[in-house]
């Protein structure tokens, strides 16, 4: 069967059913279902310890699941692992480049391992280093690279073999805002080329800005799925914060915000917060508070943190975030 027939045979580039993976007493995946359409970006969103990386490792054939099945490009990740490996590129916290080699050597190494002849492997390395603004550092050992340069090289390394599917496991964790913006631009370029992307992230805005579909997971289970718009409508992707100048007005603010956002706002130390789906709400809130004669000391509409999304979806805070930080 040719690759195209296989893809035509299944509507999805990645199909996952009831995936279970345990490590000792810990259940990393407790029955996960996923489906990724060819050419789309799926954002796998969740806190540290939610099972995102475990899912990627199963799909990258690095570990075998305890139960359930997963198909990538129509091939089973356990029985047809070698075929799967020919379709994928992996970038992330667990797939790294060699510190002691130069940028060029790292990419040539992978090209050679993929069976590309030496001259072509070198040309491919040059092409990727150019595209990722690493030409100047091409001859330097990777250990001298900045965090952003390393991530770009990691990404380039996963592209040497022209993968049809790209796994990006927390590609921007630990990067500064500029590095993150640069990497987002690169990822958008890849998506425009038609590659299918599985992206894991702890950042709601990252999934929001890059993904076509989002799957939220927690404790190894899928707790929400949908397009960014659907999820935002469901959970309120933004958080409105209002602090009246006079604490006496808190009750009025709660009433106004509660009515407009259609939720019960939280009050903490004179600050009223509420999740809102529609940014258009802000001017209306301002007008209504003005009408009510409330003087506002602080007013903000910000992107909800993952913490707040979790609170909305599960009713419990994403405690792992606080415990483990962003080191893993």
């Amino acid at each position: 069967m040719s690759q195209l027939d296989r893809l035509a045979g299944s509507a999805h580039a990645i199909e996952v059913e009831g995936l279970v993976k345990r490590f000792g007493d810990t259940t990393a995946l407790a029955g996960v279902d996923l489906a990724v359409r060819p050419g789309s970006v799926l954002g796998l969103l969740g806190p540290n310890g939610a099972g995102k990386t475990t899912a990627v490792r199963v799909l990258a054939t690095l570990i075998t699941p305890d139960a359930g099945r997963a198909k990538v490009g129509g091939y089973d990740v356990v029985r047809e692992a070698h075929q799967v490996r020919q379709l994928i590129g992996l970038t992330g916290q667990y797939a790294s480049v060699d510190d002691t080699l130069t940028g060029t050597e790292n990419l040539v190494l992978i090209g050679r391992l993929l069976g590309i002849p030496r001259a072509a492997a070198k040309a491919r390395a040059r092409e990727l280093l150019d595209a990722f603004a690493l030409s100047e550092a091409a001859g330097r050992a990777t250990k001298t690279y900045s965090g952003g340069m390393r991530r770009r090289l990691d990404l380039a390394a996963s592209l040497v073999g022209h993968p049809q599917l790209l796994y990006l496991d927390e590609p921007t964790t630990g990067l500064d805002p500029r590095g993150r913006a640069e990497l987002w631009e690169l990822i958008r370029g890849l998506v425009a080329d038609g590659v299918t992307v599985l992206l894991t992230t702890q950042y709601l805005n990252e999934a929001d800005s890059l993904a076509d579909d989002i799957v939220v997971i927690d404790h190894g289970k899928v707790i929400a799925t949908g397009t960014p718009a659907e999820l935002k409508a469901k959970i309120g992707a933004r958080t409105l914060e209002v602090r009246p100048a006079d604490e006496v007005d808190v009750r009025t603010v709660v009433a106004v915000v509660g009515e407009l956002a259609n939720v019960t706002p939280e009050v903490e130390g004179g600050l009223v917060t509420a999740p809102v789906a529609d940014p258009e709400l802000l001017p209306i809130v301002v007008r209504r508070l003005d009408d009510a004669g409330v003087v506002v000391a602080e007013l903000a509409l910000r992107t909800s943190s993952l913490e707040e999304v979790f609170l909305t979806l599960t009713g419990h805070p994403a405690d792992e975030v606080a415990e483990e930080g962003i080191t893993a």
Binding site: R57, R85, L87, Y94, D98, T100, E105, G194
Partner: protein, 271 residues
């Protein structure tokens, strides 16, 4: 930044498995990678070049006169053993390198590629054999400059080198096991030194067994390092060959049979 025509090339034909020939080529590529690392880390080159030369110089000129009466006589006795000792220390690079790959995530990248599962390990061990050969020739060269002479013939010398490399191949499995178990590369080094120093010094590498206390002699005689050193001496300088060579081969087989399955089992558990 230029546009990235980085993905979606005409799809390559999907193959069901890696052919042994491809696996061999991948092994060579990974061995190349390990050797290129040395170029970027001259300290490692010093480790397996300067350190053994230091040993030769120290033992020949500081202890040689006291141990063997003259530095020339001592060099003839000690050099084959020093080559054996150095071989054991160099095998530790397999473990440290493997551990670095495992802890830094390089190994996961390699395993996500459509390459033979055994290629990364085989590549490390092949690269190690190149380092071993380099060390042996370096030590022989330095020894010759200082007055060491081959007492046998070329064929015997080549047999000695082959025997030492074969033992290195077998002992690499110990290094692989340590590399897989250890938490970080430094721990592999620490193990290497704490375990290998007593094993190499409680042998006949530096002094004749007969000069040691009676209770220690059986241990020294049973030590495979002594046996291999004897075999190397016999083949390079002259003397009994058959028995030590046979015993060396048995030891090499025994070490491989015990440690290769252990290392592979722990390896599969870790990755």
């Amino acid at each position: 930044m230029t546009t990235i025509s980085t993905t979606i090339a005409p799809p390559r034909p999907i193959t069901p498995r890696v052919s042994p020939l491809e696996g061999l080529r991948q092994t060579m590529t990974l061995a190349w990678r390990t050797l290129v690392q040395v170029r970027h880390n001259p300290w490692e080159l010093g480790d397996f070049s300067i350190q053994p030369i230091m040993f030769v110089l120290l033992f020949t000129y500081v202890f040689g006169g006291a141990i063997a009466g003259s530095t020339g006589a001592y060099l003839t006795f000690a050099l084959p053993g020093i080559i054996v000792m150095n071989m054991l220390f160099v095998t530790m690079y397999v473990g440290t390198g493997l551990n670095t790959d495992l802890t830094k995530g390089v190994f996961d990248r390699l395993r996500s590629l459509p390459i033979a599962r055994w290629a990364p390990l085989a590549g490390r061990i092949s690269a190690d054999l190149v380092k071993q050969a380099w060390s042996i020739f370096l030590l022989l060269g330095v020894g010759m400059i200082l007055g060491f002479r081959i007492g046998t013939n070329m064929a015997a010398l080549l047999a000695a080198i082959a025997l030492i490399l074969l033992f290195a191949l077998s002992f690499s499995w110990v290094s692989v096991l340590v590399g897989v178990i250890a938490k970080d590369p430094e721990k592999v080094q620490i193990f290497g030194f704490t375990a290998l120093f007593p094993v190499t010094f409680v042998s006949n590498v530096f002094v004749q067994t007969e000069t040691m206390p009676g209770w220690l002699q059986p241990i020294v005689k049973a030590n495979p390092v002594s046996i291999l050193a004897d075999a190397a001496r016999g083949l390079m300088v002259g003397g009994p060959v058959a028995t030590p060579v046979m015993q060396t081969l048995l030891w090499a087989a025994l070490i491989a049979v015990v440690f290769a399955p252990l290392a592979v089992a722990r390896f599969k558990r870790r990755v």
